[in-house]
Symmetry: C2
Subunit: 673 residues, 2 copies
């Protein structure tokens, strides 16, 4: 990258092409003032902006500084100073630190030069679109929506009944960071609501509802090194615990007897089982919406009478036990009064404990801006109630739900803490585990995220997909989620096998379960979920064919262990994701830039999951420059073409490089299956 | 109104309260630049704006001028002149003429001071909300949408299948004019896309995508005189022809034999019939969507073999014959080649005739900016083919459909002509009738409108409601339509009895037909419509009870003639609408400001139509200060209260003032029914 300037112009270029250009006629920075209206209902937000002003900062004065320069920006010559920006030249880019801001600015826009062919990816974990070009992406952690497509019945009903249908950009994990096909990344350091707009032909425009502290633009010679830099910026994950590779994590939530019985049944099917994940370890409550978990984060013996013994017995059999936790405490639980008495809960306008309605039960919000509250949550809940009990991991749910009207002890508005909350939540979980010295053998998985969650959350899960093949909320979306979050330095990703959300008559069938399971076998972690309506949806234990399929896939997953371990180790050390966008290894094959329904499992394996119903064969794009071998048939194909292969259930379209060091493993795996 | 100013401030007040205030800290005018994206599909528009800048014009210089002053507006002291506005002081307000505009301004905002309690109404013909406060209203003539409520199945399916579901603000007839409860009106003279925003507590903000020529603010001591002024500004309608009062206009579209048979059947029911309205007089075509009209505006004998004779015979029996016309010519008709050869049709980018897809058939767009084309349309189509044949009126359909990508002979972009098109279309119809000397006895009805349509369109019809009782597209919406358009000086309004749009399983039933008919009996014009799917929807001639009800209502309507004629005469002379918002006569009763499902039929009659299904009684608000008599029971009620009266089908809730000069008429009418 190269920076040049003259009196009133600044030009940052990369390989001779403009990246950040500011001239009086074509300014790069805009300021303004707006009044937003934000309404939250169960983690979904309706957000409107009334924009009072948007003014270009046309007048620039540049002063040389050590290792950079100082920009003074005004709307016009005689204007008061509006923004002062310290530019630091880095070896591979620039860092803009915004230092002085005039009053009454709460909107900020910055433009970067774009070209028509350019692709951009990232913005956190995106479910609908991997290439972000042509759309804008509001960045605000929230529920991702049910259906996410206004043309579907499920979305329409979710909107009508719960205002929860969502749209293409809704995500649990937004991040104001994008990667360009020009081999740079742009990160804006802020927790404010942001909206990145990639609809214009000649520029990208990043909007922030506040003035960000820092803007980082860094380039790299290759996409892989770019991802390494991103990951170095936001933090890396520890390797997954070794027990993960022992097989599938079985999601069960019908009490101890059922869990033990299902494990026996799984083993009868020769299923490789690494853990039982029993969300209901803290008990349940009945509501008119169905059975819900009891949000008091300690073992409740009613449902698991001998849990300590069970955990110990399971561990002897090399099976771990996982639980569930979230940042809320139900008012009728035992922990709520303790937290309330200690002043660890967020308050409302009146100074009383803020109570959040989660549907026929109310909860307090643990105030993670209060150091003492964090310590209590770590010591009492995670270390004492969870780790001491013998849990080897859990779903660390929510994180995206901080109501924007509560009062927090650090004095920062909840609106400004909202996007940060997933990071705080991840940090509490990770620190508690580290303080217990159990990082090597414990994991937890989160759906919520934001810049910096990478340093704390060891494993993402893709959230609550609908139990279907739908374009914007079904099986296919978790591939896009893995690819986009992977570019942000989240090396490990997985999803609920079979999806989660079953509403408005939408029910999981055997085909979906099997297609999802056979994809999951080629991801870092396999885990089933009974869904939100366990008895209304196909479970592996209700259908011998589905059980046999899951068992076979679990064995295939286990067979991949040596290869997976190497990828996980690389992910942990360098931040390169296990599931990779095709272009990470095929930079010059432009076809790869738009593919969001296939991924590379490490450098050698290409996975093209069947994400639609009713297919017996499937078309996959094989990147250029390599010879590919179809896993099941052993058929060889030249790269640089789209091929159609048989893809009956049980034989997901998987290919490996014919020059791989792992040929023996792949051929053995195909033979075994 | 009073205007004061000092060096850099301007203050227009009304009765001591601010109306238009400009100070450097709180400017009233903003300019900006935006790039809109507009997409049309069959009269529905998707409109987005990318806003590049929005800047306050804080710096004002005021210079005295004769009968007013000159405003020079800049963003800051050293700025180039941005806007120059000539302020003319009127007796009752001010007129702002914007004279000089800097380059690169295509967005304009103006604020008026508002108070929290204030109500605003108008903005053309609004279907969903009479009081506009709390919402914003894009003003762009278009299809109004099918369903207009994202929570209904019909809207959802219309959106999914045709992108045609619409929303609360979509209307065939927008107008950048509003009436405030502070007894002033504001009109912005422009054809550009506009958006009036009434969501803010302390100001109203009017946005225009262009810089308007003129802004008019005028006050009046009463609402009635305010409406008179509005009507004087935009033009008044001739009285309705006398034959209208002879009874209901029967909408029939199954050819001559059917029309004659249905007339006989109607007369058997003692129905008072003023006219047959046969849309299909020009023939039909079959499409996969069903039977459509043949858009070649001349009698086609196939369907009406002896139309001339029929019209003559009907006229002898005191029954008129009405037709249908719209501004398009189908390519397979006889008029298209004639118009094309003469160069009367709009062209496309390539200079060829622009062809518009209307669903399996294509049409040319007659170019109404070409004087010769207008003359041809008037002389050949309206005078020769329609009036000479003996038509006494017609539906002048469309007007809101000018595609924004055609080329017009006056060189103005179609985008800028779009909102004007309904006015041009109305003018052609009115002028042709006037040139034929038939204004007294001919009428036509339009759904599309814009500022100025009042001078040409003698009768509005409320457009294409769904055949149901739904909140945003059913029976109740036509009351809101009559009230809002009435305030804009459209004195005469009516609607399709039973609604029009039957889609996605939504079908008209007998109850809806009867509730609609009994409301229509208390409007200026009664007219039935077979709907878009005649054989799938209840028709009066398919159900003797519905026929008998319609017949009785037609007789009631006829009995109202003397009263109606006086109202029509007043409407024509003063612009006061026949159907009036309650507050027009009850200014001090604030309850009346929010009522949009009742109306006054002239000063003496209050109509509270039953606009929901399944009611046997109905609650109505009776304005304060008057004693009201329930039409059917003769029961007396004090005003200023909400009362519930029996309202079985056939006895719509109607009340009259106990001090009316028309008591004899009302009691006779009740006795007769």
């Amino acid at each position: 990258m190269q920076v040049t300037y003259q009196r009133d112009q600044l030009r940052l270029s990369m390989g001779g092409e403009d990246l950040l250009v500011h001239t009086p006629k074509s300014p790069a920075f805009f300021i303004g003032y707006g009044r937003e209206k934000m309404e939250m209902y169960c983690g979904n937000f309706e957000i409107q902006d009334y924009l009072e002003s948007r003014e270009a900062l046309r007048h620039l004065t540049v002063t040389d500084r050590e290792a950079g320069m100082q920009l003074e920006l005004r709307r016009h010559k005689d204007d008061d100073l509006q923004l002062s920006i310290n530019v630091r030249l880095l070896e591979d880019g620039i860092q803009l630190d915004i230092q002085n801001v005039a009053n009454d600015i709460n909107r900020f826009w910055m433009r970067l030069a774009a070209d028509e062919q350019e692709h951009v990816w990232g913005c956190g974990e995106q479910m609908s679109y991997f290439n972000l070009r042509g759309r804008h992406f509001p960045l605000w952690t929230s529920e991702p929506g049910v259906g996410r497509d206004k043309t579907t019945y499920v979305t329409w009903q979710s909107d009508v009944v719960n205002r929860a249908g969502g749209d293409y950009y809704n995500t649990n994990y937004p991040q104001p960071t994008f990667v360009s096909s020009r081999r740079y990344f742009c990160h804006i350091e802020t927790y404010d609501y942001a909206d990145f707009d990639f609809r214009q032909g000649t520029f990208h425009e990043m909007q922030v509802w506040g003035v960000p502290a820092t803007i980082l633009l860094r380039s790299a010679p290759t996409f892989l090194t770019l991802v390494e830099k991103i990951s170095a910026t936001f933090g890396r994950q520890p390797p997954l615990p070794d027990w993960v590779y022992n097989g599938v994590i079985l999601g069960l939530k019908r009490g101890q007897a059922h869990a033990e019985k299902m494990l026996a049944e799984a083993l009868n099917h020769d299923m490789a089982v690494s853990a039982l994940w029993c969300e209901d370890w803290t008990g349940v409550r009945e509501t008119s919406f169905g059975t819900r978990l009891f949000w008091d984060w300690r073992w409740q013996p009613e449902r698991y009478p001998h849990l300590e013994r069970l955990i110990a017995e399971l561990r002897e059999r090399n099976v771990r036990f996982l639980g569930y936790v979230n940042p809320y405490l139900c008012v009728d639980g035992s922990l709520f009064p303790e937290a309330e008495a200690a002043g660890y809960l967020a308050t409302n306008e009146q100074g009383n404990t803020a109570l959040v309605d989660f549907g026929e039960f109310y909860c307090g919000v643990v105030d993670f801006t209060d150091e003492a509250a964090c310590t209590w949550f770590k010591d009492v809940i995670i270390k004492r109630e969870m780790l001491d009990l013998g849990l080897s991991g859990w779903m660390a749910d929510f994180g995206e739900y901080l109501p924007i009207d509560v009062k927090l002890s650090n004095g920062v508005s909840a609106k400004q803490e909202h996007n940060r909350w997933p990071v705080r939540w991840a940090q509490i979980n990770a620190e508690a585990i580290a303080e217990a010295g159990l990082t090597d053998e414990t994991t937890f998985f989160m759906r919520a995220g934001y810049s910096g969650v990478q340093a704390h959350c060891p494993l993402l899960w893709a959230g609550d997909q609908s139990v279907d093949f739908s374009r914007h909320d079904g099986l296919g979306t978790v591939i896009c989620a893995a690819l986009s979050s992977g570019l942000m330095g989240n090396a490990f990703h997985h999803s609920d096998i079979g999806g989660y959300t079953s509403l408005f008559g939408n029910k999981r069938n055997a085909e979906l379960h099997m297609r999802w399971a056979e994809m999951a076998a080629f991801t870092p972690v396999m885990r089933t979920h009974e869904s939100n309506r366990p008895t209304k949806n196909t479970q592996w234990f209700d259908d011998p064919a589905v059980a046999a399929h899951l068992a076979r896939m679990s064995r295939i997953y286990v067979s991949l262990t040596p290869y997976l371990k190497q990828l996980v180790s690389e992910g942990s050390a360098r931040g390169i994701p296990v599931q990779r966008a095709l272009f990470l290894h095929f930079e010059t094959d432009l076809e790869c830039y738009d593919i969001q329904d296939q991924y590379l499992l490490g450098p050698d394996v290409l996975v093209a999951p069947v994400h639609q119903a009713g297919h017996l064969d499937w078309s996959a794009y094989l990147p250029h420059g390599v010879e590919w071998v179809h896993l099941w048939s052993g058929e060889h194909y030249a790269g640089g073409q789209r091929v159609t292969v048989p893809a009956p259930v049980g034989k997901p379209p998987v290919f490996y490089r014919s020059d791989s060091d792992w040929l023996a493993l792949f051929t053995a795996l195909a033979g075994q299956a």
